[in-house]
């Protein structure tokens, strides 16, 4: 009996998407349970997959029974499995969040929204699982098209942003496709691992074509992940989209593209090629430094809550790209761990923004006035996410920064280390600004007044269906932090095969 778990990870949301369209025409209420069911299956299968990967090493699943390079295979190693589990979990959480929000924000298109949600998840999962360079392009487009639509369902500003996103996204995807074409012309293969073998066997690493292919793919992926200065599409898209959309896309899209970059750099091209032969590390890390600084400092200048978070994403992308290009194990471990951690922290803060919007109908940061007394649980959720973004233990964010800084020091990129620290500070300022609003809104300033003990204000906590996801995410952020060793060990197991030179993991 062949193990079907890897396929189910992807197929569950995909088939549910189709079913939701059919069922939604008649029984709109049945959509949500269906979505939940499909995504739960996906999560379960992803857990199963990761357990198998940990136990037995790389898992291979041949689509259509054709062995690679003739057919398309899923080759699932630690990296894939982790990211896939992350993606499906986040999808599940944001689906729960959207239960009550969709009717309000997406109007009468409930089943359409759920279908698009499931399709975007399908696309992202497909990108993560596949071992075929061209197949990745197809699924990239599945997720991209749905993203455009999900964003365009928002306000009219969102529509403008969606158009920009569509144009820039298409350029990025086309660059990627061209890059694959350039690889194909030299190797004649499309399977990632096969391409790598041919590149090594025929010593193609010195050819200009492979260099250009590398540039095309990298730039294409950078565009898609909003790496500064290619980030222009991101802030508006996530700011003006419906909150349901930004909770789904904000955490996932950029991170999955970071995964693609890592996959391409390590698996398709060789680490020796990307790190040693090209020797771009310095330039890219400096670019990342600029991205981090620009992202976090622009975030400081924002008054719109979600726009601020969107700029944080730009900074976080800088973290990860920089971490990867530090070219040592600590940096890579940090980048991959951060990828996973950041998905949840970003989700956490975006859910918070969503709840604030749901409760107050306002987008500005000032909307958080006095929320500490009114919605203590929500604020606690935000606090966990914020502490993690700032990098305070035992939240997940601390550990990723720990490894990233370690990597930066090990390879002597002091600029990167300083940028990380400055951005942590910027985030601290950002979130404490929110805390201040939340703390001081209750009681107008009057020194020490005649307020008696037990003056708590009126509780008006958000409804369970939008609060539970936040609580869940917050606890996940903590759990990822607490169990960081097991995650890191999966990542290091994955990285061992590349024989990276590194003084730290002797």
């Amino acid at each position: 009996m062949i193990d079907q778990a890897p396929a189910i990870v992807l197929l569950a949301p995909f088939l549910t998407a189709v079913l939701v369209v059919l069922v939604g025409m008649k029984y709109e209420r049945a959509c949500f349970p269906l979505v939940l069911l499909g995504l739960s299956f996906s999560v379960a299968a992803a857990v199963q997959t990761i357990l198998q990967v940990v136990e037995a090493g790389t898992l291979r699943y041949y689509m259509g029974g054709w062995p690679p390079p003739f057919g398309i295979e899923f080759r699932i190693d630690g990296l894939n499995a982790l990211v896939a589990l992350t993606v499906s979990t986040v999808a599940l959480i944001s689906a729960v969040y959207s239960k009550n929000r969709v009717p309000e924000e997406n109007g009468d298109k409930i089943s359409i929204y759920y279908t698009l949600l499931l399709l975007v998840v399908t696309g992202l999962l497909g990108m993560v699982l596949t071992g075929d360079a061209f197949n990745l392009y197809v699924l990239l487009e599945v997720s991209a098209l749905t993203s455009y639509a999900l964003i365009a369902m928002g306000t009219r500003r969102a529509t403008v942003a969606a158009f920009k996103y569509a144009i820039i996204g298409t350029i990025g995807a086309s660059f990627y496709l061209l890059g694959v074409g350039y690889l194909y012309i030299k190797t004649g293969s499309l399977n990632m691992f096969d391409i790598h073998e041919v590149l090594v066997a025929e010593d193609l690493h010195r050819s200009t074509t492979v260099l250009v292919a590398f540039i095309l793919i990298t730039v294409g992926v950078w565009i898609k992940m909003a790496f500064f200065p290619l980030h222009a599409w991101l802030p508006n898209s996530y700011t003006f989209a419906p909150t349901t959309t930004s909770c789904l896309l904000g955490p996932l899209v950029t991170k999955v593209m970071v995964y693609v970059m890592i996959r391409m750099m390590l698996t398709v091209f060789d680490p020796v090629y990307t790190f040693v032969q090209l020797n771009w590390g310095d330039i890219v890390v400096w670019m990342a430094v600029i991205a981090i600084l620009v992202g976090s400092l622009s975030a400081l200048a924002q008054t719109d809550l979600r726009r601020m978070l969107a700029f944080l994403i730009v900074a976080e992308v800088g973290y990860m790209v920089g971490g990867v290009w530090l070219a040592n194990t600590a940096g890579l471990v940090g980048a991959i761990y951060h990828l996973i951690a950041d998905v949840f922290m970003t989700l956490c803060v975006f859910l918070f923004a969503g709840i604030v919007f749901a409760k107050t109908g306002k987008r500005e940061i000032t909307a958080t006035h006095g929320l500490f007394a009114k919605m203590p649980l929500t604020m606690a959720g935000l606090a966990v996410g914020a502490l993690s973004l700032i990098g305070i233990p035992p939240t997940a964010g601390f550990f990723s920064k720990w490894y990233l800084i370690q990597g930066g020091m090990a390879s002597g990129h002091w600029g990167y280390v300083v940028a990380l620290l400055i951005s942590s500070l910027a985030m601290a300022v950002l979130f404490f600004r929110i805390f201040e609003y939340a703390l001081f809104g209750v009681k107008p300033a009057e020194g020490h007044g005649d307020h008696h003990a037990g003056d708590q204000g009126k509780f008006s906590e958000a409804s369970a269906s939008i609060l539970l996801p936040l609580m869940g995410t917050a606890s996940l952020v903590l759990l990822i932090g607490i169990f960081n060793q097991s995650i890191v060990s999966i990542i290091t197991d994955f990285l061992v095969q590349f024989n990276l030179a590194d003084p730290m993991f002797r």
Binding site: M1, Q4, A7, L11, F14, L15, V18, L19, V21, L22, M25, Y61, Y62, M63, G64, G65, W66, P69, F70, G71, I72, K109, I112, Y113, T115, L116, L119, T122, G123, D132, F134, N135, V138, L139, V142, L145, T146, Y148, A149, L150, A152, M153, T159, L178, Y182, Y184, I185, K186, T187, G188, L190, V198, S207, T208, T209, L211, V212, A213, I215, L216
Partner: protein, 252 residues
Amino acid sequence: MKALGFIAVLGTGLLLLAASRDFPNWGDPDSPASSYRLSRHFITETINETAVPNMVTAVLADYRGYDTLFEAVVIFTAGIAVIGILRRYGSRNSIPSARETPLTPKKPDLIVESTVRLLIPIIQIFALYVIAHGHHSPGGGFQGGVIFGASFILLALARDLKAAQNWVAEKRTLILACCGILIYAGIGVLCQFLGDNFLDYQILHRILPTDPVMARYHSILVVEIGVAFTVTAIMFSIYSNLSSNGKMKEGI
């Protein structure tokens, strides 16, 4: 902006050109892409492994069947996306069915209408031929589906959107599109239930009265039909949404 754009474009062009120097020449039979085992295997083994003479069809629907499934999903996604972006329901939960939109002819032009009436059956039969004959000649689900969809679009152009919707109402297009995907994916899942990988058609010989290779052959046809369903439906759906600005009432 223009100058900047020009520089960027020029840079990209030069970058691409730089690589083209060590590209194989036009039509070079020894180019890596043509001489690698992948291409050779497809050319020489397709007939043995799938019994389909048209290698493109075989590679499309079998070797890279998973890719093609998602190709169909891309179309499906686009259809749903367009609905998501444009569609404006008059009132909540009211996807009108065919009966609710009576045919309202708007002074049909005699020549146009007669021509269309003549053409549409021919177009549709040709579409069916293209779908069915994909194993032996250029063609298949996508091409046939597009042609089939075009016939409805032609009708909508010649008469109006309602006339075309009389044939395929919005609900029906969606059902059709879903069915197409479900047929394709369903075969894949069926293979899983029979104990093999997703889309590994050969296992179907257990329930079909054929040997494994011919099971692939026949499954490819079924899969192509599924694709055709989706493509037909979504082509028309996108057209009708775009032409009526999401109101689905009167088109161009």
